[in-house]
Amino acid sequence: MIVAGIEPKAEMVHWWFATGILILGLLLVAEVIVGPEVWGRRPWRRYLWPGLCFLLGVLMWPVMALYTNSMIHMVAHGSWAQVLMLTGGAELGVVRGKLYSQYWRLTSVVALLVSGTAFLVHEQNGWYFARAAFLHHALGWTLIVAAVFPLAQAFRPRSVVAASGFALTFLVIAVLLFCDRDSAAIFGHFSTFAGVPHR
């Protein structure tokens, strides 16, 4: 009860993760613009996005442990923590030279598919119940559709289209997460069961 009293609201946690994902997106967009050769010229830069992805996975564990409003939320947060750490860890292994295969990029496919499915499964309400519900559906489908980009990268690692799509996916996810409110209307719709609406 004490923790519940002092812990930040769920919408704030979404905004903090949106900030991390915005940084991820900008790093990936910059890498696409300058190309992998220039990006890899400074060794520390190669570790930036996989390291940040891994860190976001680690930070997702306290979210799983503290936001226990339902079992399915815990499972969803736990699965995000695992797939973020899996992708970050695999990419760190690749940039460190411990892992060689281009097919490690498939871990990103798994991450996007699992994350998208978790968003859709743990949202129990329809699209227009409230803004949070709408965003959960939008995020889920965005992630599932975007899984095609790392899938293409696994087979065509130098594809600019696939790399651009993968990078822009993170910017879209960041925008959607920044839009989140715990209870707010979406396009004029707001369920009477959704609490007190905020702007």
Binding site: P8, M12, A18, T19, L26, A30, V38, W39
Partner: protein
Amino acid sequence: MSADYAHERLGQTEKEHTARAVSSTRVRIVLALGPATAIGGIAWAFLQPWRLTLLHPYGQGFWWLFAEPPLYVVLVGVLFRLLIAPGLVEDMEGTD
């Protein structure tokens, strides 16, 4: 100077010009990424000022004063411009 050699040199110069133009465009885009992000955050703050509790801080708890999403976006843009973009530009210019 033979005609073949002159044509070859001309072709090389054109290629170098094209490569430099592409590189210069990339430099501009990389330098613009951070400011564009920051401007996005500022625009958001103007469009939805109620998302900035610092503008009406009385009665707000710690978390509400700490959570300022438009400022986070501005901060990300500024940090990208200051910490990431200069090194990238330097490395791109080193390639030319």
